[in-house]
Amino acid sequence: MTKETKSQFDGKPKTFVWKVTINAPIETVWNTLVKTDEVLPFFFGAVCQAQDGLKPGKNMRMASADGKFAIVFGEVKEFKPPYRYSHTMSFTQNEGEDPAFTTYDLKEVRGGTEFTLTTECIPGTKTGKMVASGSFIVDNLKLLVETGKPNFAAKMIMAMGPLMGFMTPKISHIENWPLS
């Protein structure tokens, strides 16, 4: 590693970016990304929930497939089909931490759709460590749109869904995270 391994960004948000080109039309990618009330293999088998759809200023949450837990809670910041969707993002189990900020950008390019995930988070927070899962989301959304099937790791996580309930802290119970 370099001599400057210690971060100069301590305390300031750190930005992570992942990008893939997906061999599918932009509408297909968009519709896959913003699906609500359906299990999302690219998002750890969670279900995106919102009241009256995803709209700026409104809350969203990623709930466990059985609907018992809220894994992620956030506020929609931008919703511009089929180009941009952004929201704040807190893992419910890290309650009280500053939220991270996630942006999905879609762009039509030769050969399909360029899909970019950008996450800003405060380094050193638990949320900051957890957003490293960005490549899982980007990678699996690509595979899902192109082949219709999630990858093995995603299938494993979905199969483990009911089991993970035991490990989920009380604070994550869905009734603690109302949408309005």
Partner: protein, 123 residues
């Protein structure tokens, strides 16, 4: 799926020590500016920019304009796709076990070497 041309570009980009070291720096300092990055290397700024162009063409580096600076990020998605091509869950489980033993043994070996040389210095 990525095409063979994409893969060739990725492996070409990876096949240079300076470019791999650039990726090391971007891993720990996401969002670093081009100038700051160039300071980390003994080669000229132009040489670093040429390496960055190769890395960007392969999709391994993403650059974003921020005022007058160009901020650089490592994109790990292409590396994940290399992984997906040859590793499945079974082989990755065992390969990880093996590399885990390798890292642990090497760390232990380095530690005992350090202790030995300290002892020698003490004599």
């Amino acid at each position: 799926m990525s095409t063979e041309n994409d893969m060739t570009a990725i492996f070409h980009a990876l096949a240079h020590e300076t470019r791999r070291r650039i990726m090391d720096v971007l891993k720990v300092r996401p969002g670093i500016g081009v100038g700051e990055l160039a300071q980390e290397f003994d080669v000229t700024r132009i040489a670093v920019m040429n390496h960055l162009a190769v890395l960007e063409a392969a999709g391994l580096v993403i650059s974003q304009k921020d005022g007058r600076t160009r901020r650089l990020h490592l994109n790990t998605a292409p590396i994940q796709m290399i992984n997906d091509r040859w590793l499945d869950d079974f082989s990755s489980h065992w390969a990880r076990k093996l590399t885990g033993i390798k890292y642990a043994a090497e760390a232990a070996h380095a530690k005992s070497n350090q202790a030995k040389s300290k002892k020698r210095e003490g004599k």
